[in-house]
């Protein structure tokens, strides 16, 4: 019943702007299993097995981020390896109040920056004494790449029909009315899905932007 489950949601949210999405539930559903030893805590405690779980959970995200930014498979694999070994070495600096995914995003940004810096140095060395070449296509700023991968991950996690509606509305740039016709839904329902989906995307970006 909505009243008892939604009251806590409203309880302390006036000062916190991140919680107005209807999809946020105040308490977990009864069906949702409680993680007995949360990964974030096991990782912070330096439990070796937590490392593999961390990789299972975030490996595709980190690798995708490296691929999108570096556009080079071997570099992306090396960078992913560097991210997780760095994470392991510095787990004692991990702030457990931060989601592990967001923390790994920070490390990945630095590893990507290091890779670009190394490429630049290699390029300078190769260029020594040679005429200035036309600069190759400049890579997209890492911030925008992070946004794209974070949003993609968040979009994939949305599930139907919201993910499909957002894809049609933005990747395909279809008018909302056409989407409504195509999916046989009232226009208001389509808009509502877009609203909720966008709020989720925004929040995932906020989490990963620190």
């Amino acid at each position: 019943m909505l009243t008892t489950s939604s009251w806590l949601l409203n309880l302390r949210t006036e000062r916190s702007r991140t919680v107005s999405a209807p999809s946020v539930k105040p308490f977990p559903d009864r069906g949702g299993a409680l993680d007995p030893q949360p990964l974030a805590m096991r990782f912070a405690a330096g439990e070796p097995a937590a490392m593999q779980d961390l990789y299972r959970q975030h490996g595709a995200f980190v690798f995708s981020l490296c691929m999108a930014a570096l556009r080079h498979r071997q570099d992306a694999e090396d960078a992913t390896q560097a991210v997780f070994t760095r994470a392991w070495r510095s787990h004692d600096t991990y702030d457990i109040t931060q989601p592990t995914g967001a923390w790994l995003t920070g490390i990945t940004r630095r590893v990507i920056a290091d890779t670009f810096a190394r490429r630049e140095r290699d390029l300078q060395a190769a260029r020594a004494g040679v005429e200035e070449q036309v600069r190759e296509d400049a890579p997209q700023p890492t911030d925008a790449v992070v946004d794209r991968v974070v949003v993609q991950q968040s979009l994939d996690a949305l599930g139907p029909p919201q993910d499909e509606i957002l894809r049609l509305a933005y990747a395909e740039d279809l008018p909302l009315k056409i989407i409504a016709e195509r999916l046989g839904m009232p226009l208001g329902t389509v808009k509502s899905h877009v609203h909720r989906g966008l709020a989720r995307m925004r929040k995932s970006l906020e989490v990963h932007s620190d």
């Binding site: 009243t3 008892t4 489950s5 009251w7 806590l8 949601l9 409203n10 309880l11 302390r12 916190s16 702007r17 919680v19 209807p22 105040p26 308490f27 977990p28 030893q37 949360p38 805590m41 912070a44 405690a45 330096g46 070796p48 593999q52 990789y55 490996g59 595709a60 690798f63 995708s64 999108a68 694999e77 992913t80 390896q81 997780f84 070994t85 070495r89 787990h91 457990i96 931060q98 989601p99 592990t100 790449v145 946004d147 794209r148 991968v149 949003v151 979009l155 994939d156 933005y170 990747a171 909302l176 226009l187 208001g188 877009v194 609203h195 966008l198 709020a199 995307m201 925004r202 970006l205």
Partner: protein
């Protein structure tokens, strides 16, 4: 039109922009053809613009919404890393010992007492039967209009908002109960009782509020015995982000963080109305 949107908060110019308004500002297509029941869209957006000019957090939220739109317009493929990559990482990690974290060994120095099935007596039993409904809570919070709020009981009693059964997590079979009440002053308090007390030499128990995966944590304080301990919930804490009560085993090591050893935990459930 039964779609549930966040309420139109623009009537109160101090309120932040709703998700709904942020999305309409970022994508004007969403503002077209609002239902006839909705207030005139033009007015709402003008009000929203006025608020934006004055409010940095809302400008940032709008910027993040626009970034989300840009990212959605430029999708990227998520890729699984190659099969052998984890083995390479594991091999490198094996050669790179991490700084030693706390081990679980000392947990076994705890001396469990064989009286785990003590009954939980709600401290705020006086408040049992208080109906918690949207209107009543809105009244408590001063959000509802005066006319809608039900008459308050003559003596303001703590209102039981929810409780949690703390199930054993570690091998020690320590369990407990937690109850959240709202005091007559409008403060939130959590009373926690655990089935066993820590051996003082082996550290202490600490009570936390956290989310399901432990990525958000808020310490409430230490528990030293089996008698119930009451903590005040920090004001402004968004409880929807911290739905789980967690009792950890901590050591006197000067580290204020969670040790990683949860003894008992359970989700806070709204009180039955």
């Amino acid at each position: 039109m039964t779609e549930q949107f966040p309420p139109n908060e623009r009537s109160d110019s101090a309120a932040h922009l709703s998700d709904h308004e942020l999305a309409m500002l970022a994508d004007p297509r969403l503002a077209e053809e609002e239902g006839a029941a909705a207030p005139p869209t033009e007015d709402r957006l003008t009000e929203a613009q006025r608020h934006l000019a004055l409010c940095a957090p809302c400008r940032e939220a709008l910027a993040a919404t626009e970034r989300a739109l840009n990212a959605l317009r430029d999708p990227v493929n998520l890729l699984e890393p190659p099969a052998g990559l984890w083995d390479r990482i594991a091999a490198e990690i094996a050669e790179t010992p991490a700084a030693p974290g706390p081990t679980g060994a000392s947990v076994h120095q705890l001396r469990p007492r064989p009286t785990p099935s003590r009954r939980w007596v709600p401290l705020a039993a006086a408040a049992a039967g208080v109906l918690i409904g949207g209107a009543a809570v809105a009244g408590v919070l001063g959000q509802g209009s005066e006319e809608e709020a039900p008459a308050e009981p003559p003596v303001a009693a703590p209102t039981v908002l929810g409780d949690a059964a703390l199930e054993p997590v570690a091998a020690e079979d320590i369990s407990g109960q937690a109850e959240m009440v709202e005091t007559e002053d409008g403060l939130l308090e959590i009373t926690v009782e655990v089935s066993e007390a820590p051996d003082p030499e082996a550290g202490y128990f600490e009570v936390w509020l956290r989310n399901e995966d432990g990525s958000r944590l808020q310490s409430l304080g230490a528990v030293t015995g089996t008698e119930s301990t009451t903590f005040q919930v920090p004001e402004g804490l968004d409880l929807s982000e911290y739905p789980v009560v967690d009792v950890s085993h901590e050591h006197f090591d000067g580290d204020p963080g969670h040790s990683g050893t949860t003894l008992a935990a359970g989700p806070m459930e709204p009180a039955d109305s």
